[in-house]
C-alpha cells in the first residue's frame, strides 16, 4: 500500500510541477525587468522589481477592464440562473403536454456553443443596436448558459421529494411560493454549481467581446490581456505583470467555489 502511495506522491509532484511552473513563470516574471527576462527567462527575480505591478495597478485602464468584466459576468449569471431555475422548475414539477419537447429544445443549445453562432449573432446585435454595449455580450452569454443550467437543475429539482411539495400545498402555500421558499433554498448546491459555470464562462469569454467591442474602454479583461500582449510586445515584464494580475479574480473565485462545484456536479451526470 505504501509503495503505491509512493508512486502516487511522485505523480502528484509531477502534476504540480507541470501545472504550477507556467503560473510561477508569469507571477515571478512580473517581478523582473524585461532585460532580466531576455537574459535568462527561466531565472528568478534578482533584484525584485515592483514597478511592473505598481504601474498596472496604478493605471485606470486595468480597473476599468476589471469593472467591465465583473458587470457583464454578474448580469449574465443572474439572467442565466434566474431564468434557468424558473424554466427548470416548470420542466420538473409541472406535468403538461409538450414538456419534453421544451426540454429537448433547451438541450439542443448544448450542441452549439457560442462560437458557431457568433457571426450571425454579431449582425443581429448590430441590428438591435447592442454593439459597444455590455448587454450585447451579457445577453447572448446568458442565453448560451441556459441549456447547461437547466440540464443540471432539472434532475436536481426532480429529486426533491413530492411529499415536501404536497405538504406545502396542503398548507396553503401556492405552487410558486413553494418554488421560491422551499425548492430554491433546497437547490442551493446545484445553484452554486450552475452559477460558477455561468460566471466563469462569461468571465473568460473572448470571441464575442472581441467582435462587439471596438472601443478599448469597453474591453473585458481577457480581451485586454490579448491586446496588451500585442501592443506591448517588447515589454515582456509588463505583459507578465498584467497577465498575472488578471488571473487573480478567476483564481480567487475558483478557490472559494471549488468544493461546491464538485459537490453540485455529483448526480448531474447519471452514473
Amino acid at each position: 500500500m505504501s509503495r503505491r502511495n509512493g508512486v502516487g506522491y511522485l505523480a502528484a509532484f509531477a502534476v504540480i510541477g507541470i501545472t504550477v511552473v507556467p503560473l510561477l513563470f508569469v507571477i515571478l516574471g512580473g517581478f523582473r525587468t524585461t532585460a532580466q527576462i531576455n537574459r535568462a527567462s527561466a531565472g528568478l527575480p534578482g533584484p525584485w522589481v515592483w514597478d511592473n505591478y505598481l504601474e498596472v495597478l496604478g493605471s485606470p485602464y486595468f480597473w476599468r477592464l476589471l469593472g467591465n468584466s465583473a458587470l457583464i459576468a454578474v448580469i449574465a449569471t443572474t439572467l442565466a440562473v434566474g431564468f434557468g431555475s424558473m424554466a427548470a422548475f416548470a420542466l420538473s414539477r409541472y406535468a403538461f403536454r409538450g414538456r419534453e419537447a421544451f426540454y429537448t429544445l433547451f438541450t439542443l443549445g448544448l450542441l452549439f456553443p457560442l462560437g458557431v453562432a457568433t457571426l450571425p449573432l454579431y449582425l443581429w446585435l448590430r441590428q438591435l443596436g447592442l454593439l459597444e454595449n455590455p448587454l450585447g455580450v451579457a445577453l447572448p452569454e446568458a442565453a448560451f448558459s441556459l441549456p447547461i443550467t437547466i440540464v443540471i437543475l432539472r434532475p436536481f429539482m426532480n429529486a426533491i421529494p413530492v411529499e415536501l411539495e404536497d405538504a406545502a400545498l396542503l398548507d396553503g402555500t401556492a405552487k410558486l411560493g413553494f418554488f421560491w421558499r422551499i425548492l430554491l433554498p433546497l437547490s442551493r448546491p446545484a445553484l452554486a454549481t450552475v452559477s460558477v459555470l455561468a460566471f466563469v464562462s462569461s468571465w473568460n469569454f473572448f470571441l464575442l467581446p472581441l467582435l462587439v467591442f471596438n472601443d478599448s474602454t469597453n474591453f473585458t479583461l481577457p480581451l485586454g490581456v490579448a491586446m496588451f500582449q500585442s501592443e506591448h510586445s517588447q515589454d515582456t515584464a509588463k505583459i507578465l505583470a498584467f497577465t498575472a494580475l488578471s488571473m487573480i479574480p478567476a483564481l480567487t473565485f475558483f478557490v472559494l467555489a471549488e468544493r461546491r462545484m464538485v459537490g453540485g456536479l455529483t448526480g448531474s451526470v447519471k452514473g
Binding site: 527567462s41 403538461f96 443549445g109 466563469v200 488571473m247 455529483t266
Partner: protein, 324 residues
C-alpha cells in the same frame, strides 16, 4: 415560512387536487399562467440569442454579402461549394479532427489516472485538486498569452530544455508548420485536463463505497477493482466527457487565434478561425455564414449520432440498473 407542521385542521383532501386529473377550470388557467410566467423569460432569451442567429446564418449563407446594404446577390449553394473545395478549409477540418483524436487518445487516460489519484486519501489532496483545476478557470486569453511567451524562440521552454541537457529537442514551437498543431495541443491539454478530472471525480463520488468494499472482500486486488468495478461504472461520465471534448475540439478558437492566428501558412487554421478570418477580416459575411452552418452541421451530426449510439444507455440510469 410555512412548512409542513401546521396546526390548521386538514379539512378536505380535495384541496390537494391540482396535481390530480379533474382539476377545476380556475386552477387550470392558473397553472397555465404560472407555466407561461416561468418558461417565457428563458424561452425568449434562448430563442432570441441562440436559435434566431443560427437560423439567420442559414439564410445569409445563400448570398454573397459584405455585411452592409441589402441582400441582393443570391448565389444559392455556391458559398458551400467554395468552402469545401478550398484547400485551407479542408485542412482546417483535418486540424480539428486531429485535435479531437489526440484529445481522446491522450487526455482521457490522463484524466482518468489523475481522477483516480485525487480520489485516493493522499495527504494534501485538497491542495492537489486546486492545482489541477487551476488552469481550467484561467481564461483562454490568459493561457494563450502565457504559453505564447513561454514558447518564444530562446524563451522559457527552450532554456529549460537546454538546461536539462535536452537541447536537441528544441523546436520552433509555433513557427514550424509541422509542429505548431502539436504545440497547441500541449497547451490545450494543460488548460482543459482539469475539466475532465472534475467531471470524473464527481462520477467517482457517485460510486457507492460498498461496491469497492465488496470487491475487496471477494479478494479483488485494487487494480482489479479499478478495472472491473470502477471503470465500467464511470462509463457514463466518460462518454459525456468524450462528447464534450469532441464538441470542444471542433469549436477550437481562442487559443489558436491569440497564439498563431491560424498560421504559419495556415498550418494551425481551425474551422472557427477560418470562419472569423473570412467573416470579419475580409467582410465575406455570406461566405462566413456558410462556414458557420457547415461547422454547426458537423457538430450537430456528431451529437445526434453520438446521442443515438453512445449516450442513449446513460439516459435511463446505467448505474441504477447495474446495481439492482
Amino acid at each position: 415560512m410555512s412548512t409542513a407542521t401546521s396546526a390548521r385542521p386538514l379539512t378536505a383532501p380535495s384541496s390537494h387536487a391540482p396535481r390530480a386529473g379533474g382539476t377545476p377550470r380556475r386552477s387550470r388557467t392558473r397553472t397555465r399562467l404560472e407555466l407561461a410566467l416561468l418558461l417565457a423569460p428563458g424561452l425568449v432569451l434562448f430563442v432570441g440569442f441562440v436559435l434566431v442567429p443560427i437560423g439567420v446564418a442559414a439564410f445569409y449563407s445563400l448570398y454573397s454579402w459584405n455585411g452592409f446594404g441589402p441582400l441582393t446577390d443570391f448565389v444559392g449553394l455556391d458559398n458551400y461549394v467554395d468552402a469545401f473545395s478550398g484547400d485551407v478549409f479542408q485542412s482546417a477540418i483535418a486540424h480539428n479532427l486531429i485535435i479531437a483524436a489526440l484529445t481522446i487518445i491522450v487526455q482521457l487516460p490522463l484524466s482518468i489516472s489523475l481522477a483516480l489519484l485525487l480520489n485516493r486519501k493522499l495527504r494534501g489532496r485538497t491542495f492537489l485538486r486546486m492545482v489541477v483545476f487551476a488552469p481550467y478557470v484561467l481564461s483562454e486569453a490568459v493561457t494563450a498569452v502565457i504559453w505564447l511567451l513561454m514558447l518564444q524562440p530562446g524563451g522559457f521552454v527552450d532554456q529549460v530544455l537546454r538546461g536539462a541537457g535536452l537541447g536537441w529537442a528544441v523546436q520552433q514551437w509555433l513557427a514550424d508548420p509541422k509542429i505548431v498543431l502539436y504545440s497547441l495541443f500541449v497547451v490545450i491539454t494543460w488548460k482543459y485536463i482539469g475539466f475532465g478530472v472534475i467531471l470524473l471525480l464527481a462520477g467517482l463520488q457517485g460510486i457507492p463505497a460498498e461496491l469497492r468494499e465488496a470487491a475487496a472482500l471477494d479478494g479483488a486486488s485494487s487494480w482489479q477493482t479499478t478495472r472491473h468495478v470502477v471503470l465500467p461504472l464511470l462509463g457514463p461520465t466518460i462518454r459525456v466527457w468524450i462528447f464534450l471534448a469532441v464538441i470542444g475540439s471542433l469549436q477550437l478558437f481562442d487559443l489558436v487565434w491569440i497564439m498563431t492566428l491560424g498560421g504559419p501558412a495556415n498550418a494551425s487554421t481551425t474551422m472557427a478561425t477560418y470562419l472569423i478570418d473570412h467573416g470579419f477580416k475580409r467582410y465575406e459575411f455570406g461566405f462566413g455564414s456558410a462556414v458557420a452552418v457547415i461547422l454547426f452541421i458537423i457538430c450537430f451530426t456528431f451529437a445526434l449520432l453520438y446521442q443515438r449510439f453512445a449516450l442513449r444507455r446513460d439516459t435511463d440510469g446505467a448505474l441504477t440498473r447495474a446495481v439492482n
